[in-house]
Protein backbone atom coordinates (compact mmCIF):
# COMPACT_ATOMS: atom_id res chain seq x y z
CA UNK A 1 0.00 0.00 0.00
CA UNK A 2 1.37 3.43 -0.95
CA UNK A 3 2.66 5.53 1.92
CA UNK A 4 0.75 8.44 0.38
CA UNK A 5 -2.52 6.82 1.44
CA UNK A 6 -3.14 8.18 4.92
CA UNK A 7 -6.88 7.82 5.07
CA UNK A 8 -8.59 5.72 6.18
CA UNK A 9 -6.45 4.09 8.85
CA UNK A 10 -7.06 0.38 8.67
CA UNK A 11 -7.14 -2.15 11.48
CA UNK A 12 -5.00 -5.27 11.31
CA UNK A 13 -7.75 -7.18 9.50
CA UNK A 14 -8.17 -4.41 6.92
CA UNK A 15 -11.42 -3.04 8.28
CA UNK A 16 -11.72 0.58 9.30
CA UNK A 17 -13.99 3.05 11.03
CA UNK A 18 -15.09 6.44 9.69
CA UNK A 19 -16.50 9.28 11.71
CA UNK A 20 -18.75 11.74 9.88
CA UNK A 21 -19.73 15.00 11.53
CA UNK A 22 -22.59 16.99 10.09
CA UNK A 23 -23.71 20.50 10.88
CA UNK A 24 -27.26 20.42 12.24
CA UNK A 25 -29.72 22.77 13.82
CA UNK A 26 -31.99 21.26 16.45
CA UNK A 27 -33.55 22.26 19.74
CA UNK A 28 -33.96 18.62 20.74
CA UNK A 29 -30.61 16.87 20.25
CA UNK A 30 -31.55 13.69 22.12
CA UNK A 31 -34.83 13.31 20.30
CA UNK A 32 -33.14 14.02 16.98
CA UNK A 33 -30.42 11.47 17.72
CA UNK A 34 -33.04 8.79 18.39
CA UNK A 35 -35.04 9.63 15.28
CA UNK A 36 -31.90 9.51 13.16
CA UNK A 37 -30.81 6.13 14.54
CA UNK A 38 -34.26 4.69 13.87
CA UNK A 39 -34.16 6.13 10.36
CA UNK A 40 -30.77 4.55 9.63
CA UNK A 41 -31.99 1.16 10.87
CA UNK A 42 -34.95 1.31 8.52
CA UNK A 43 -32.90 2.77 5.66
CA UNK A 44 -30.37 -0.05 5.77
CA UNK A 45 -33.12 -2.67 5.85
CA UNK A 46 -34.66 -1.10 2.77
CA UNK A 47 -31.42 -0.49 0.88
CA UNK A 48 -29.36 -3.66 1.10
CA UNK A 49 -28.90 -3.68 -2.66
CA UNK A 50 -28.05 -0.69 -4.84
CA UNK A 51 -28.43 -1.15 -8.56
CA UNK A 52 -26.53 1.32 -10.71
CA UNK A 53 -27.37 1.53 -14.36
CA UNK A 54 -24.65 3.24 -16.35
CA UNK A 55 -25.43 5.23 -19.46
CA UNK A 56 -25.17 4.98 -22.39
CA UNK A 57 -23.87 1.42 -22.06
CA UNK A 58 -26.85 0.29 -19.92
CA UNK A 59 -24.32 -1.68 -17.88
CA UNK A 60 -25.89 -2.86 -14.63
CA UNK A 61 -23.88 -2.87 -11.43
CA UNK A 62 -25.32 -4.45 -8.31
CA UNK A 63 -23.75 -3.27 -5.06
CA UNK A 64 -24.36 -4.76 -1.64
CA UNK A 65 -24.46 -2.70 1.54
CA UNK A 66 -23.32 -5.69 3.61
CA UNK A 67 -20.23 -6.11 1.46
CA UNK A 68 -19.18 -2.59 2.34
CA UNK A 69 -20.35 -2.04 5.91
CA UNK A 70 -20.49 -4.19 9.03
CA UNK A 71 -23.66 -2.61 10.40
CA UNK A 72 -25.94 0.36 9.96
CA UNK A 73 -24.48 3.83 10.61
CA UNK A 74 -24.26 4.49 14.32
CA UNK A 75 -25.17 7.88 15.74
CA UNK A 76 -22.51 8.50 18.37
CA UNK A 77 -23.40 11.99 19.56
CA UNK A 78 -25.59 14.97 18.87
CA UNK A 79 -25.79 18.48 20.22
CA UNK A 80 -27.72 21.47 18.96
CA UNK A 81 -25.24 22.15 16.14
CA UNK A 82 -23.42 18.90 15.33
CA UNK A 83 -24.32 15.27 14.78
CA UNK A 84 -21.64 12.57 14.62
CA UNK A 85 -21.99 9.27 12.83
CA UNK A 86 -19.77 6.22 12.80
CA UNK A 87 -19.45 3.90 9.83
CA UNK A 88 -17.80 0.51 10.33
CA UNK A 89 -16.37 -0.56 7.02
CA UNK A 90 -15.55 -4.07 5.85
CA UNK A 91 -11.95 -5.06 4.99
CA UNK A 92 -12.95 -5.81 1.38
CA UNK A 93 -15.01 -2.64 0.91
CA UNK A 94 -14.52 -1.08 -2.50
CA UNK A 95 -17.46 1.21 -2.98
CA UNK A 96 -17.87 2.58 0.55
CA UNK A 97 -17.33 6.20 -0.51
CA UNK A 98 -19.97 5.93 -3.23
CA UNK A 99 -22.41 4.42 -0.75
CA UNK A 100 -21.57 7.02 1.88
CA UNK A 101 -21.78 10.10 -0.35
CA UNK A 102 -24.35 9.39 -3.01
CA UNK A 103 -26.65 7.08 -1.08
CA UNK A 104 -26.39 7.33 2.71
CA UNK A 105 -25.64 11.03 3.17
CA UNK A 106 -27.74 12.14 0.21
CA UNK A 107 -30.83 10.28 1.43
CA UNK A 108 -30.13 11.32 5.01
CA UNK A 109 -29.97 14.99 4.11
CA UNK A 110 -33.11 14.71 2.02
CA UNK A 111 -34.97 13.16 4.96
CA UNK A 112 -34.03 15.67 7.67
CA UNK A 113 -34.28 19.43 7.35
CA UNK A 114 -32.12 19.72 10.48
CA UNK A 115 -29.00 18.93 8.44
CA UNK A 116 -27.26 22.07 7.28
CA UNK A 117 -24.74 21.24 4.59
CA UNK A 118 -21.43 19.43 4.32
CA UNK A 119 -19.43 18.45 7.38
CA UNK A 120 -16.21 16.58 8.01
CA UNK A 121 -14.97 13.02 7.63
CA UNK A 122 -12.13 11.39 9.51
CA UNK A 123 -10.95 8.24 11.19
CA UNK A 124 -12.80 7.28 14.35
CA UNK A 125 -11.23 8.58 17.52
Amino acid sequence: MSEKIRFPKRHADGSFCIEVSLPVSTNDPQGFLERVQDWFTQWVEANQIWIRKWEPTERIEELSYAQEFKREPQVISCNSTELKLRLDVQPSARWWKDWMVTRILADFKAAFAEIKGVGHIGDCE
Binding site: F7, T57, M100, L105, A106, V118, H120, I121
Partner: protein, 143 residues
Protein backbone atom coordinates in the same frame (compact mmCIF):
# COMPACT_ATOMS: atom_id res chain seq x y z
CA UNK B 1 -26.21 12.49 -52.24
CA UNK B 2 -26.99 9.31 -50.29
CA UNK B 3 -26.67 8.30 -46.67
CA UNK B 4 -23.09 8.19 -45.49
CA UNK B 5 -23.07 4.82 -43.77
CA UNK B 6 -19.52 5.41 -42.59
CA UNK B 7 -20.61 8.42 -40.65
CA UNK B 8 -20.36 8.06 -36.89
CA UNK B 9 -23.97 9.15 -36.51
CA UNK B 10 -25.04 6.26 -38.74
CA UNK B 11 -22.84 3.63 -37.11
CA UNK B 12 -23.54 4.49 -33.51
CA UNK B 13 -26.89 6.26 -33.33
CA UNK B 14 -27.60 4.94 -29.84
CA UNK B 15 -24.37 6.33 -28.46
CA UNK B 16 -24.87 9.66 -30.12
CA UNK B 17 -28.43 9.74 -28.86
CA UNK B 18 -27.30 8.91 -25.35
CA UNK B 19 -24.71 11.64 -25.53
CA UNK B 20 -27.38 14.12 -26.47
CA UNK B 21 -29.59 12.93 -23.61
CA UNK B 22 -26.75 13.25 -21.13
CA UNK B 23 -25.93 16.63 -22.56
CA UNK B 24 -29.54 17.67 -22.25
CA UNK B 25 -29.60 16.56 -18.63
CA UNK B 26 -26.56 18.66 -17.97
CA UNK B 27 -28.07 21.60 -19.72
CA UNK B 28 -31.36 21.70 -17.88
CA UNK B 29 -32.24 24.75 -15.85
CA UNK B 30 -31.56 28.41 -16.41
CA UNK B 31 -29.04 29.75 -18.85
CA UNK B 32 -29.50 26.86 -21.25
CA UNK B 33 -28.32 28.73 -24.30
CA UNK B 34 -25.12 29.77 -22.60
CA UNK B 35 -24.56 26.29 -21.22
CA UNK B 36 -25.20 24.74 -24.61
CA UNK B 37 -22.22 26.69 -25.85
CA UNK B 38 -20.08 26.16 -22.79
CA UNK B 39 -20.93 22.55 -21.86
CA UNK B 40 -20.83 20.85 -18.48
CA UNK B 41 -19.28 21.79 -15.18
CA UNK B 42 -18.01 18.74 -13.31
CA UNK B 43 -16.35 18.51 -9.91
CA UNK B 44 -13.72 16.21 -8.48
CA UNK B 45 -13.12 16.09 -4.74
CA UNK B 46 -9.53 15.54 -3.68
CA UNK B 47 -6.81 17.07 -1.49
CA UNK B 48 -5.30 20.50 -2.06
CA UNK B 49 -1.89 19.24 -3.20
CA UNK B 50 -3.42 16.90 -5.77
CA UNK B 51 -5.67 19.62 -7.14
CA UNK B 52 -2.70 21.98 -7.47
CA UNK B 53 -0.75 19.22 -9.22
CA UNK B 54 -3.57 18.63 -11.71
CA UNK B 55 -3.80 22.35 -12.39
CA UNK B 56 -0.05 22.49 -13.04
CA UNK B 57 0.50 19.19 -14.87
CA UNK B 58 -2.87 17.81 -15.88
CA UNK B 59 -4.40 14.49 -14.94
CA UNK B 60 -1.80 11.79 -14.40
CA UNK B 61 -2.58 8.11 -13.98
CA UNK B 62 0.77 7.50 -12.30
CA UNK B 63 0.16 10.27 -9.78
CA UNK B 64 -3.32 8.93 -9.07
CA UNK B 65 -1.95 5.40 -8.67
CA UNK B 66 0.16 6.59 -5.77
CA UNK B 67 -3.08 7.20 -3.90
CA UNK B 68 -4.76 3.97 -4.89
CA UNK B 69 -6.44 5.27 -8.07
CA UNK B 70 -5.35 5.66 -11.66
CA UNK B 71 -7.69 3.33 -13.49
CA UNK B 72 -10.76 5.56 -13.56
CA UNK B 73 -11.24 9.31 -13.11
CA UNK B 74 -14.41 10.09 -11.20
CA UNK B 75 -16.28 13.36 -11.33
CA UNK B 76 -19.73 14.56 -10.42
CA UNK B 77 -22.01 17.35 -11.50
CA UNK B 78 -23.08 17.69 -7.85
CA UNK B 79 -20.79 20.10 -6.02
CA UNK B 80 -21.90 18.97 -2.56
CA UNK B 81 -21.07 15.36 -3.36
CA UNK B 82 -17.63 16.49 -4.51
CA UNK B 83 -17.17 18.30 -1.20
CA UNK B 84 -17.87 15.06 0.67
CA UNK B 85 -15.48 13.12 -1.56
CA UNK B 86 -12.86 15.77 -0.91
CA UNK B 87 -13.36 15.30 2.82
CA UNK B 88 -12.59 11.61 2.36
CA UNK B 89 -9.45 12.13 0.26
CA UNK B 90 -6.92 9.29 0.68
CA UNK B 91 -3.98 11.65 1.22
CA UNK B 92 -5.64 12.90 4.38
CA UNK B 93 -4.84 16.43 3.23
CA UNK B 94 -6.85 19.61 3.16
CA UNK B 95 -10.00 19.03 1.10
CA UNK B 96 -10.13 20.77 -2.27
CA UNK B 97 -12.38 20.66 -5.31
CA UNK B 98 -11.24 20.59 -8.92
CA UNK B 99 -13.69 21.97 -11.44
CA UNK B 100 -13.61 20.57 -14.96
CA UNK B 101 -15.46 22.43 -17.68
CA UNK B 102 -16.12 20.20 -20.66
CA UNK B 103 -17.90 21.20 -23.84
CA UNK B 104 -20.90 19.19 -24.98
CA UNK B 105 -19.11 17.98 -28.15
CA UNK B 106 -16.23 16.79 -25.96
CA UNK B 107 -18.65 14.85 -23.75
CA UNK B 108 -20.20 13.28 -26.83
CA UNK B 109 -16.76 12.49 -28.23
CA UNK B 110 -15.78 10.64 -25.06
CA UNK B 111 -19.07 8.73 -24.97
CA UNK B 112 -18.70 7.71 -28.58
CA UNK B 113 -15.19 6.53 -27.84
CA UNK B 114 -16.52 4.39 -24.99
CA UNK B 115 -14.42 6.32 -22.50
CA UNK B 116 -17.23 7.84 -20.45
CA UNK B 117 -20.17 6.38 -18.56
CA UNK B 118 -22.61 8.26 -16.38
CA UNK B 119 -25.00 7.30 -13.63
CA UNK B 120 -27.09 10.14 -12.33
CA UNK B 121 -24.67 12.90 -11.39
CA UNK B 122 -21.65 10.58 -11.48
CA UNK B 123 -19.22 10.65 -14.42
CA UNK B 124 -16.80 7.77 -14.84
CA UNK B 125 -13.92 8.43 -17.24
CA UNK B 126 -11.88 5.39 -18.23
CA UNK B 127 -8.10 5.45 -18.46
CA UNK B 128 -8.26 6.18 -22.18
CA UNK B 129 -10.08 9.44 -21.45
CA UNK B 130 -7.50 11.05 -19.20
CA UNK B 131 -5.37 12.55 -21.95
CA UNK B 132 -8.51 13.65 -23.78
CA UNK B 133 -9.69 15.39 -20.63
CA UNK B 134 -6.33 17.16 -20.37
CA UNK B 135 -6.79 18.41 -23.91
CA UNK B 136 -10.54 19.02 -23.97
CA UNK B 137 -11.26 20.06 -20.39
CA UNK B 138 -10.65 23.35 -18.67
CA UNK B 139 -9.46 22.89 -15.10
CA UNK B 140 -9.89 25.31 -12.23
CA UNK B 141 -10.07 25.19 -8.46
CA UNK B 142 -13.35 25.80 -6.68
CA UNK B 143 -12.76 28.66 -4.23
Amino acid sequence: MGVDTDALEYKKPALISAGVVIGAQLLSGSGEAKLAEEGAALYHGSDAASVEDILANGLSQSAAAEQGGGDVFWATSNLEDAQWFAEANPAGGSPAILRIDVSLPAVQQLITKGALETEGSVFKFSGSAWQDLNELGKFSKVP
